[in-house]
Symmetry: C2
Subunit: 355 residues, 2 copies
């Protein structure tokens, strides 16, 4: 009667929306640096696509010498590349912007990490060849639907500049954590773009094509643009590389603690890295001390950090975490506000009461 | 390969803490008025108790004529009572208090509802008899542990005044939604106290005893007290009956909508009821209109409501919902602030952008 499995205590995805499905990872409760696909955050623009897998082929066309139509068998036989990567939604922490920004109210969990295996996009483009004048590579997903601001049905599609498309770690992935990619995360093929925010890593790839101009799809020129002004589109620029960032996992925000020793722990990550320093303040930012960094094997992964804190006196404490990367980027006190709420990376902070 | 179950989109519990397990119901995404136990909110003070069910007996003692030790077989043979009940944690919406309150940062989902079947506590007390001078009935759970403010191990225990204990709808439940109560919700026996906040409905009942004084356990005299002052304990009084309240389920807060027709929907509930009116404002509270109430069969349940709204002009709208019950209680604009953050019942409000 007392089945032990009833006692299992585990976190779940945090639902932000179901139409389309947008759920975040319970990041405060993650102890692993490889996220199981069940709690990998889900970020969709549309309802899930309907694919027929039995005759799946990947077309590569546009400004190529030889257009290709690749079977899964062919793709699986090519030399593979495995990358361990943080994927962070550019809307992560959107709920924290002031003034408030409309759209999915992501908190800290629109981020996950794991092991992706596939074939470099570069390998495929070497097979197809690229003709003179090629500028960008567009990857289109099978997911499609209507937007509030356009009248026609739109597919989710994004481009990469040639340089990023040809980077040997930009892959067309077919495995996540040593298993076929779960359907909700892009089965059978998903683009994985290390260092960039997650919108670049197009799921359910329908086709790849090379173009000679700048791609102007709405997920490139309307969404996923930083618009610094509320009232006009001036000074806009595209969302690309992840900013240096960190998250406090423990203690929980607004927790009540005893006096004595506590471990403050969390993660830090950046686009162009690696993370070189995480500083912790337990006095609202007046003084800072270095957290202990746990070695990370890959510069594409987040790094775990911890800090031993002795709370000697009762009272209310504001605890902050500030990451710095090898390019000297440091988290700012205030985020860069932008109209659609992308790229939040202000110093993370929580409050606790010691009693 | 395209297994349809991979496309299922469903909400999960929202994790607030795992030690102890505190997770809330994804209330915005609930369409049913009976909550499946998998997404019934979980509120614990301690880790889960270890019980030996094979020889479970329920003792009833204290100021009784005849102390009892009841087997499950005996309890199951007594005349049963079934009640359909809202259970709301008194900390529901604690995260909304200003100034902020420490403790679990519950949002809107520390509330659930379902069908509880059991034997009236009154029936058991009629068997045991109650001696003169009896004032309260204490129900103690098997869950126990240490608190930050006391040095010894404490069991979770709460008392009811005799009048509430003898109410025919106050039951010792053994079934939830026609199944044995799930372990995490109090198996094998749980007290269910309709109309009161959830802290009264003690799980994993270890014993029941009748006392001649006011019970002073810490879950009665420290926690679950309204302390109106930050600095002192003056004017404190206990948390008991649920206040009139409502929640907007759709649209989601900070959603972006098209112009045109939208259904605003949600739920409303109260301790002493039923709900007689839910009013909606789409202009920040300047004007109010009655929502349509869906009939509820039991005054212990929440009522669903909906309101058809035509958003003709683009812009930002603040939508509010205000419930009123048959005792004339109405949700206030501002919540009654108290130091531990109980009984939040201010008018619910969301913002949407019509574009």
């Amino acid at each position: 009667m007392a089945d032990p499995k009833h006692h299992v205590v585990k976190p779940y995805l945090v639902t932000r929306n179901l139409q389309p499905e947008n759920q975040e990872t319970p990041i405060q409760f993650i102890e692993n640096d490889i996220i199981h696909n069940h709690i990998f955050y889900r970020r969709n623009h549309f309802s899930y696509p309907k694919l027929t897998y039995s005759n799946y082929f990947l077309p590569i066309n546009g400004l190529v010498t030889k257009p290709l139509l690749l079977s899964m068998q062919t793709i699986l036989q090519l030399p593979s590349k495995t990358v361990e990567v943080v994927l962070e939604c550019s809307g992560n922490n959107r709920s924290l912007f002031e003034p408030k920004v409309f759209g999915e109210q992501w908190e800290k969990g629109a981020i996950s990490q794991g092991i992706w295996k596939g074939v470099p996009l570069r390998t495929l483009l070497e097979f197809s060849g690229i003709t003179d004048g090629a500028k960008e590579v567009v990857v289109e997903g099978y997911d499609l639907g209507k937007r509030t601001d356009l009248d026609k049905v739109i597919s989710y599609a994004r481009s990469l500049p040639l340089e990023k498309a040809l980077h040997p770690d930009t892959i067309i992935a077919y495995e996540y954590n040593n298993q076929p990619i779960p359907f909700k995360h892009g089965y059978p093929l998903r683009l994985i773009v290390p260092q960039w925010y997650g919108m670049a890593s197009v799921k359910w790839i329908k086709q790849i094509y090379v173009i000679g101009s700048h791609f102007t799809g709405p997920y490139q020129n309307i969404d996923y643009m930083y618009f610094p002004n509320q009232e006009n589109d001036e000074c806009a620029y595209p969302v690309t590389t992840m900013k240096v960032n960190s998250t406090i996992q423990k203690p929980l925000d607004m927790a009540r603690l005893n006096t004595g020793k506590h471990v403050i722990k969390g993660i830090a990550w950046t686009g162009k890295g690696p993370i070189t320093k995480v500083e912790i303040s337990t006095d609202s930012g007046h003084t800072w001390s270095n957290a202990k960094l746990v070695d990370s094997n890959s510069s594409y992964k987040w790094i775990s950090w911890s800090f031993e804190w002795t709370a000697e006196e009762k009272g209310i404490y504001t605890i902050m975490a500030k990451g710095t990367d090898s390019h000297g980027q440091t988290q700012p006190m205030k985020p860069f506000w932008n109209r659609n709420g992308y790229g939040y990376n202000a110093i993370d902070q929580i409050m606790v009461k010691v009693e």
